[in-house]
Amino acid sequence: MVRLVSLILFFAIWWLASLFAGPQMLPGPEKVMAVIIAQARTGELFFQVGVTLARVFVAFTLAMVGGTALGFLMGRSKLADSIGDPWLIVLLNLPALVIIVLAFIWGGLTEVAGVLAVAINKLPNTIVTVREGARSLDPRLDEMAKVYGLPRWKSLRHVILPQLAPYIAAAARSGLSLVWKIVLIVELLGRPNGVGFEIGTAFQLFDVTRILAYALAFVIVILAIETVVVQPIERRASRWRSKAA
């Protein structure tokens, strides 16, 4: 209920602001909605959003899988941590734009280069979070698994992963929003389609309505993923926590 009021307030402020700023600078919500609907009718919106979503999905998966594996390794092995840490600091501080531009120069203006650039941007973030999780693993549960002779994969799946789950979830949460922001820059700089490309075109035409239309459409999609996919998974994974006596 409060959320709904807050949302209505947001649109009201937007609408008022558009009255002052004029339709050139800030078109009202109703105009943006009209463009969204028009773009949806032609199928253009679904195509561009779909392409971007596919890139987000692939880059996100790569960064999460790679980051989790590397972060776990660095959290568990002192040697791996000493080797990896300087690289990590470099990656963490390298601006997204530098990685993207270098990826396009070295890999050409290709899909692979673009998606990899996004994944590399997200990677260090995941590593740092999961490493923290791996460092805080409970050695007592490890010992239990060892005494009972649990096979490796079994103790990974049932003893270690559940302990890492909150860290992986945190990395995923911040990852989804970070990845889609960077995908848009990649599309703007070096892809012939996607929401970022559309916004780039609209920017050249100074078409603010179109910019907002695409941005809003994509935000709605991400919100939908968050409520339909991410939150139910999280609820299920933390089922055992909520019922604490």
Binding site: L141, E143, M144, V147, G149, L150, P162, W240, R241, A245
Partner: protein, 251 residues
Amino acid sequence: MNDARPAGEAKQLEVHIERKAFAAASGGRLDVLRDIAFTLKRGEVAAFVGPSGCGKTTLLRIIADLDKDFEGNVRRADSISLAMVFQEPRLLPWRTVEQNVRLVAPDLSNQALASLLKELDLDAHRRHFPAELSLGLARRVSLARALAVKPDLLLLDEPFVSLDQALAARLRMQLSRLMRDLYLTTLLVSHDLEEVARLADRVFLLSPRPARIIAEIPLATPRDARSDREIVTMRTEVAKQIAEFAPPLIP
């Protein structure tokens, strides 16, 4: 269920620890265990009694192969299956009671699981998560988990410490019955002389740090046949021995 009884008196465990030391914070090495040697036959229950912090848990950890940094050797019978009840229950909080037991004993039949949980009064808690259990219940689950693997060697690290007397007594009785039925070779570490007198065949007294065996007291009457009177006598006997050995060892 006594079909597992072997023909010979096979040695299940042979322990010979010359020395175990920890690195002290102030530098140098601090001796924890010294010259601890004993063997355990199949179906035998040995109890270790000693002052707090004398290294009893360290001894169990060495036998469980969790600590390899010691001088000496520990020989366990080939392909032995091991179970340990730690001082804390060490259950996986994201798994239900049943799933916790199943994890270590995937081959256990539904029937065997049901009867084990029933035996320990856990059937009502099958689908509960550890956070929903009291400490006493969690301890019982930890015990059920250990028994579910039908261990060749069971290690118990003060399994009922900090439980109230009545509950501890009840759990002790259940454990004692299961130990007999499954013919379990068991190593028990405890402060509780009542527990020791009821569960053990042999008692080893340990000195303060560095712990060494200062006396071995066989409890002759078979575990099941002990009357309450005898238990009291045994307790007194063990307590007397402790008192006898303790004073000169305190520096």
